[in-house]
């Protein structure tokens, strides 16, 4: 026994220092390195934008202050709507649709997980629905809904404004994704929770409502927020069925003045809407991660 352990102890002290080139980037040197690489990246971007001839025409076309300003306020004389005014349309569409999506998605998810005999035929229907609307590109859905529903002459349903059809298309598509998110959330609740709740004598409904759903919803808030951000951007596609929302207003400006700064302004407005949400979502994810890693005792 002693000979084995003796052999494990080396004659000379083992080499414990990291190779020199790695040491170069530790500690304060590391900070310098990150500053240097950031500065280099910024320098490259600035060089492309300002020092090349292509950069100049790029800035003229996309970052032209004169046209950025016209984009904001519009020019009625030239029938160019304000990009800022256009985004009001996008905003009410996504606010309304998001509420509908959250509700409808939950219903679909419920139908897919429930075991109530009454709802069983609807389970198949719900699965088919989710497959279809997750499978067809949204641009096709909005065409089919926006031009198809009016053709069907279904009374009030065929007499709405294109913005309403846009909302219907968005709701149909996004509910399919959101129902999957809910379903994953419902499945992520440990089975023991359901056992405990049912063992107390809570009905299936009460178990879902008081125990499973509250836990599932907390888990799925980040992916739901991500879907919401996606929805906000997809409202731009409502322009395909005739609605002059912000991106279409930007295109009209571009067509009239041959300058792309209108598109830039529209993009900036979208960012103003979505960045707070993306930051908030990341914050929630980080907070949840901290809780999970620190929590269990």
């Amino acid at each position: 026994m002693s000979s084995e352990t003796d052999a494990a102890v080396p004659d000379a002290p083992p080499r414990l220092f990291a190779p020199r080139r790695r040491l170069l980037f530790k500690g304060r040197n590391g900070l310098a390195a990150s500053l240097a690489s950031s500065a280099a990246l910024v320098a490259v971007i600035l060089a492309i934008l300002f020092a090349t001839s292509g950069g100049q025409s790029f800035r003229f076309y996309f970052f032209n202050p004169h046209f950025l300003w016209i984009a904001l306020r519009g020019n009625p004389l030239k029938a160019v709507g304000s990009v800022l005014g256009g985004i009001v349309t996008n905003i009410w569409i996504f606010l309304l649709c998001e509420v509908l999506v959250l509700l409808f998605g939950l219903i679909i998810a419920w139908v897919r997980v429930t075991t109530t005999p009454l709802l069983v035929p609807f389970r198949l229907l719900a699965t088919v629905y989710a497959d279809i609307f997750r499978g067809i590109p949204f641009v096709l859905v909005i065409y089919i809904v926006g031009y198809g529903l009016p053709q069907l002459s279904l009374g009030a349903l065929s007499n709405q404004s294109p913005a309403v059809y846009g909302c219907i298309a968005l709701t149909l598509t996004y509910s399919a994704y959101v129902s999957e998110v809910y379903r994953a959330g419902l499945h992520s609740v440990p089975h023991g929770q359901i056992l405990a709740a049912r063992s107390l004598g809570l009905t299936q409904y009460a178990t879902m409502r008081r125990v499973v759903l509250p836990q599932a919803v907390r888990t799925v808030i980040p992916p739901l927020l991500n879907d919401f951000i996606s929805l906000q951007k997809d409202t731009a596609l409502v322009s395909l069925i005739g609605v002059v929302e912000t991106s279409r207003a930007a295109q009209i400006g571009q067509e009239t003045y041959f300058n792309g700064s209108f598109l830039t302004m529209s993009a900036l407005l979208f960012l103003a809407m979505t960045i707070p949400m993306t930051r908030f979502t990341d914050h929630l994810i980080d907070k949840d991660r901290e809780k999970r890693l620190a929590g269990a005792q």
Binding site: P190, L195, A196, R198, L200, G201, L202, P214, Q215
Partner: protein, 244 residues
Amino acid sequence: MNDEVLKMSSVVKRFAQHEVLRDVSLTLHRHEVVCLIGASGSGKSTLLRCANLLETIDGGDIELFGQSLLDPRVDPDLVRRHMGTVFQSFNLFPHLSVLENIALGPVRALKRPADEVREEAMTLLARIGLQDRASEFPDRLSGGQQQRVAIVRSLAMRPSLLLLDEVTSALDPTLVGEVLDLLTDLAKSGTTMLIATHEMNFARDVSHQVAFLDNGVLIEKGPPDQVFERPRHDATRVFLGRVR
């Protein structure tokens, strides 16, 4: 009215082709504590889950206060309100505070008024010395504290009997004692309990009857003295030899 609270007669349970419970008969009387012992996989947990209808049995019968639970008119939710169940992994609701965990059943299932339930819940918490933790969330409590809250949660429903499934097996050894103490207390105050456990000393001290399960078969049942000191079957002897 007779003394039998829970009567399981010739219960058979199959998972796929595998018979997990074979012809198990067990009766639990009022104020009686019965401990189920046996190796893992012997069917103890399954038996408990069949008792409160979380699993459906494939043969035999289960009666609660003389009424067959297999009657199609029976509502499992109502049945379960008479039986308190405590699990190995506690299964407290993480999104509710300790107090809310205890109050959920009585308020939502029994439809009792909330303030009344809360008061009672606080009393129950005081009984286990955790009244100061009432508004905290379960993840802030130790394992032993959580399990005691779980026990109290099922007591809040004022059940006729308690089903306890290896409630100390997931606990740190130092925390096992506080839970066993609570169970001993409950036994002394006459709570009817069916307890699946590995804690042989506890079983010996507390139970009126001990039942030994081996591979889904109830090998023997009797007073603790008899089963532990003078087991009648070889299988029992072998098992006890391994756990001592």
